[in-house]
Amino acid sequence: MKLLESVEQPTPNGSIPSDALLATYNLVVRYGAAVALDGVSMYVGKGEMVALIGPNGAGKSTLLNTLSGINRPAAGKIICNGKLAHVPEGRQLFPELTVEDNLRLGAYRGGSRDPSPMYELFPQLHRLRHRRAGGLSGGEQQMVAIGRALMAHPDIVAVDELSQGLAPIVVSDIANHLVSLNKQNGTAVLLVEQNAQLALDITSRAYVLENGRISKEGRSADLARDPAVHKAYLGGQVSR
């Protein structure tokens, strides 16, 4: 019964533009009997930077995995008018392969396998290119993970928990790279974060996902001022 309601309910902030790069309509994803996504409608426009914030277990990673085809939706629709690349939670590198091999495998679907554009984006990777990826620091690994995704020449890159386990200074460095990538190449970014401050700072629009539903959406600056969001995600600790 509850689900039916959510399916019929229009998304809080109006409709999804027809020229959206990536959009989901009333997406439902289940793990067995457990509902992880319960009618999620969201979109990312061309060249846009969008944040997806929410507590642990809200379904953020599930959404990304569904966009990438790892999970199969039980209901709903996904439209993707471009190439999406996914930087998974926890980096998920190939630890025994070198940095360069990790990057090159990002181009597995086709296109140039030359990793040098990634060395331009992240100059410190050039020096590490023959090192095993498993031996790098967390920040370096995150750069490799982003670089590997970018090797697919995506129109939109979805980054899951960019800041996880990284020192704040490293996070802001990598975040700056994402912003400049977005400015220079027009690559759209969907940034999944528990660190809402960072995510709302660098994006223009944002969604709040709670218990598998979008509970709030709007301009990032507005959400950052929203008392409820402020209390739950910016004030103190992140609630469970």
């Binding site: 990438s68 790892i70 996914h86 998974p88 998920q92 590198l93 190939f94 630890p95 025994e96 392969l97 091999d101 090159r104 495998l105 990002g106 597995y108 679907r109 396998r113 590997r148 995704a149 697919a152």
Partner: protein, 284 residues
């Protein structure tokens, strides 16, 4: 001394053949997590197919190559039967048990129960330190070393080889990069088939092949693979040599009838050692 050299040579040659089987286990396990019980069957098919091709007048080298290709094809078919679709691992493992007895039935139907053999590439036997060594032993050593080098090159140097390593290393990330992990699993089965087939082609001239040799070949190959925790091809080669040498020295200096029991006891010890290692490293 003469006997020692003879055991050593024989042990190395047979050990390398076990290593080929072991590497088949390793590649299939790494990509699919399936312990392929039918691994020994590839070798039996390899031996019997070579035998029939030779009798049909096909030249030696060609027969052996064709037999290896046929084994690769059988590997592919076994792979499809084992992993296509969404089967739980347990089901896949049991299916490979079924494939092992299916192979025995097919082999017995086509070739009967009489053991077969054929002579390897012709040429003179030679003498090392007074020991008489069949030329085939040298061929086995060279051929398997060449195969190991080929496999190492394919994995270490080619993009496809690295994609396969990626599947073994992190299947989820491999999928995100667009690698079809299932298809890579089938390639691994083909590779396992080819390596197993090569093992059979090489060992049949040394010791006659029977339709039901697959279980003992599989268990020796598995034992060798366990040395590298089922995931390290390099350690699997060492494992193969350990078993080849142990078998020859036990048979030679003690009694041939203890050969199997010692090999199996060694396997159990290895399993225990690996279990302990895993516990120590918290890998459980």
């Amino acid at each position: 001394m003469t006997a020692f050299v003879e055991y050593l040579m024989t042990g190395i040659a047979r050990g390398l053949v076990f290593a080929l089987l072991a590497m088949g286990f390793v590649f299939i396990y790494r990509v699919t997590r399936v312990v392929n019980f039918a691994q020994g069957a590839f070798a039996v098919f390899g031996g019997f197919i070579t035998y029939s091709l030779l009798r049909a007048g096909v030249p030696q080298g060609v027969s052996e190559l064709l037999a290896i290709l046929a084994a690769a094809l059988i590997g592919l078919i076994f792979g499809i039967i084992t992993i296509a679709g969404d089967l739980p691992l347990l089901a896949s493992l049991i299916i490979t048990i079924g494939l092992s007895i299916l192979s025995e039935a097919i082999l017995m139907l086509i070739w009967g129960t009489t053991p077969i053999t054929y002579s390897g590439l012709t040429g003179h036997d030679f003498v090392i330190l007074g020991a008489f060594i069949q030329r085939q032993y040298l061929i086995v050593v060279l051929a398997s070393l060449a195969l190991f080098a080929l496999v190492a090159l394919a994995f270490g140097r080619t993009y496809f080889g690295k994609a396969m390593t990626a599947c073994a290393s992190n299947p989820y990330a491999a999928k995100l990069s667009g690698i079809n992990v299932k298809r890579m699993g089938l390639v691994a089965f083909m590779l396992g088939g080819a390596l197993g087939g090569a093992a059979g082609v090489l060992i049949t001239p040394l010791s006659p092949m029977t339709y039901d040799a697959d279980v003992s070949l599989a268990i020796t190959g598995f034992a060798a693979a366990i040395v590298g925790g089922l995931t390290s091809p390099g350690l699997a080669v060492i494992g193969g040599l350990v078993f080849g040498l142990a078998e020859q020295f036990v048979a030679g200096y003690w009694s041939p009838s203890n050969e199997t029991a010692v090999a199996l006891a060694l396997l159990i010890i290895l399993l225990l050692w690996q279990a302990r290692r895993m516990r120590l490293e918290g890998l459980e």
